[in-house]
């Protein structure tokens, strides 16, 4: 059964003077989904988060978040959403605990639960030992973790994360990824991630949207988007060097092009372009039938990064 839509936009737009930050954005995100919003700096990702939280007035179109109209029901909506801003936005003259305690009051965490909730989040993000120190002395990764803890204080239904792992070391990054997955899969929370990290988006997100100059270029599951690119599938072939002629002959017979790659372990290596995914078994059969000793035939599937750059290239043209 389809889960309910928690974010819906219809031609949502935002102009700043002559600049169109968000251009007729149509988006539907369902409860529990991890949605990745990809795009260069200035693509309109942060502006979209602001519009969806009712802190910016749209120039056109409409948005509905958790059944509420952001600009009209802003305070009610923001009690149910959490935002990790691009910069941690922490009071560096206050301690980690003070930062969380003040925001617990601002987010309406019940007063008797505040101390326990703050302690729980400090422990979750491995900050308990430094909780009484001023945030100004924290490392970048610690600040990011504290900001993430702050965004979770009131257990929001939708979590907007603007570059959640920027500045984190690999261990902390993995911790954040696990947390995001747990929040979505176990607690049914919706996660909206803005990121430049395409590998992160591919690994974490159920669907991604690619933005450029305020426009949504494409949207879909990472696997679905990469499949759309399989027209340009490349194959990596490793075969005996002595069989070079046979190999190249068979490749050209199938109308494919091959370019020699660096030799591996005394074998010949080629990168074959233009192959269809379905043609792989035939190519392998033909090569073997012709007597070529094949060590490896590896389809190099496009990644989300390939999709991303291809879309941006296309957009430039």
């Amino acid at each position: 059964m389809d889960k309910r839509a928690v974010i819906e936009t219809t031609n949502l737009s935002k102009q700043f003077g002559q600049v169109t930050a968000v251009d007729r954005l149509n988006l539907t995100i369902r409860q529990g989904e991890i949605f990745g919003f990809l795009g260069h700096n200035g693509a309109g990702k942060t502006t979209t988060i602001r519009l969806l939280n009712g802190v910016l007035e749209p120039s056109g179109g409409a948005a509905c978040v958790l059944g509420l109209t952001p600009l009209v029901d802003g305070p009610t909506l923001r009690r149910r959403t959490g935002v990790l801003t691009e910069t941690p936005s922490l009071d560096e003259r206050l301690t980690g605990r003070e930062n969380l305690a003040i925001y617990a009051d601002l987010y309406g965490v019940p007063a008797p639960q505040t101390a326990a909730r703050v302690a729980e989040l400090l422990a979750t993000f491995d900050l308990s030992d430094r909780a009484e120190e001023k945030v100004g002395g924290y490392s970048k990764g610690m600040k990011q973790r504290l900001a993430l803890a702050r965004a979770l204080l009131h257990a929001p239904e939708i979590l907007f994360l603007d570059e959640p792992t920027a500045g984190l070391d690999p261990v902390a990054t993995r911790q954040v990824h696990r947390l995001i997955t747990r929040l979505s899969r176990e607690q049914g929370r919706t996660i909206f991630i803005c990121t430049h990290n395409l590998a992160e988006a591919q690994a974490l997100c159920d669907r991604v949207g690619v933005m450029d100059n305020g426009r949504l270029l494409t949207i879909g599951a990472p696997a679905e988007l990469t499949r759309q690119m399989q027209k340009a599938l490349r194959l990596e072939l490793e075969a005996a060097e002595n069989d070079r002629e046979v190999v190249l002959d068979q490749i050209s017979r199938l109308g494919l092009t091959a370019e020699a790659a660096e030799n591996g372990q005394g074998h010949g290596r080629w990168l074959i372009s233009g192959a269809q995914y379905d043609a792989i078994p035939d190519l392998l059969a033909d090569l073997v039938r012709a007597g070529a000793r094949v060590y490896r035939l590896n389809p190099q599937e496009p990644t989300l990064a390939d999709v991303y750059f291809a879309l941006h290239e296309e957009e430039k043209r």
């Binding site: 910016l56 600009l71 009690r79 936005s89 601002l106 309406g108």
Partner: protein, 272 residues
């Protein structure tokens, strides 16, 4: 109205301000000069002595040019006492107002422009507070300390003035009713004016210094009052001070009403 959120904003702003040396130094030094050094010097001035060549003779001449009402209020004092009362009760009165005004302006400048500079405003704007709660929290965070410093300063001024001038006056002469009205009725209104103007400027300014400098414009009317008193153009009677309070409170209300309409998250965000 979410009072817990308002209290959280006040708590946050005060904690941050108290740890900012750039803000705290003027907040300590200026009141110290105004409430301790100046009344002490004015109270001790008669010890400079009488006689030909004494600067106090000039003050006597100065007194002759003051309004009749002021001269009448000083009628029962000796010439030396008149000098003390003139300085401590009348001439320094408008200057007293500078302190609550400055405290409110400095904290208010730090609360918005400073937050913008430190990049902490964005997280605050994403909280479920309404625009009105946010504005009220910010205003109270600056107004309450300003009023407190004003009242504590008034008490301190009274103590220092009476002690310093004891040898001349021989009794407790300060405060009079005008000063009570000034400290309790006018000073909070002046603080309100300073902070409303500074918050509105802060929201548009780039940083703390920027906002504080632009906000300094509200000191001008007070400086005019100082000059007015010193030149005999005006005289701080109880009636005039009470009326001044009424005008300032009305102005505060008007600016607050206007600022409340203007003060919107979307506007602040578009300037981040």
């Amino acid at each position: 109205m979410n009072t817990r959120a308002i209290q959280a904003i006040i708590r946050k702003d005060l904690k941050v301000t108290l740890q900012n040396r750039g803000v705290m130094i003027p907040l300590v030094v200026v009141p110290l000069i105004m409430f301790v050094v100046m009344p002490a010097l004015a109270g001790l001035a008669p010890l400079l002595g009488e006689g030909p060549g004494s600067p106090l003779n000039d003050l006597q001449l100065f007194l002759e040019n003051m309004p009749a009402a002021l001269q009448a209020s000083l009628a029962g004092y000796t010439p030396m006492q008149q000098v003390v009362v003139l300085a401590l009760v009348y001439l320094l009165a408008p200057m007293y107002l500078i302190v609550p005004l400055m405290v409110a302006s400095v904290i208010a400048a730090d609360s918005f422009a400073g937050e913008k500079e430190r990049k902490t405003l964005e997280a605050l704007l994403y909280t479920p507070t309404t625009d009105r709660e946010l504005l009220l929290g910010k205003l109270l965070a600056a107004w309450l300390p300003a009023v407190a410093v004003g009242l504590v300063g008034f008490v301190l001024y009274a103590i220092v003035a009476n002690i310093a001038a004891w040898s001349t006056m021989g009794s407790f002469f300060f405060p009079n009713l005008m000063w009570v009205v000034l400290a309790v009725w006018v000073a909070p209104a002046v603080a309100g004016l300073g902070l409303v103007v500074t918050v509105l400027i802060s929201a548009r300014a780039e940083g703390f210094q920027d906002a504080y400098q632009m906000g300094a414009i509200v000191v001008l009317p007070i400086l005019l009052m100082v000059v007015g008193q010193a030149t005999g153009v005006m005289y701080f009677s109880v009636g005039l001070v009470a009326l001044l309070g009424v005008v300032l409170w009305l102005l505060d209300g008007l600016l607050l009403w206007w600022g409340g309409r203007w003060f919107q998250r979307a506007e602040l965000f578009s300037r981040l």
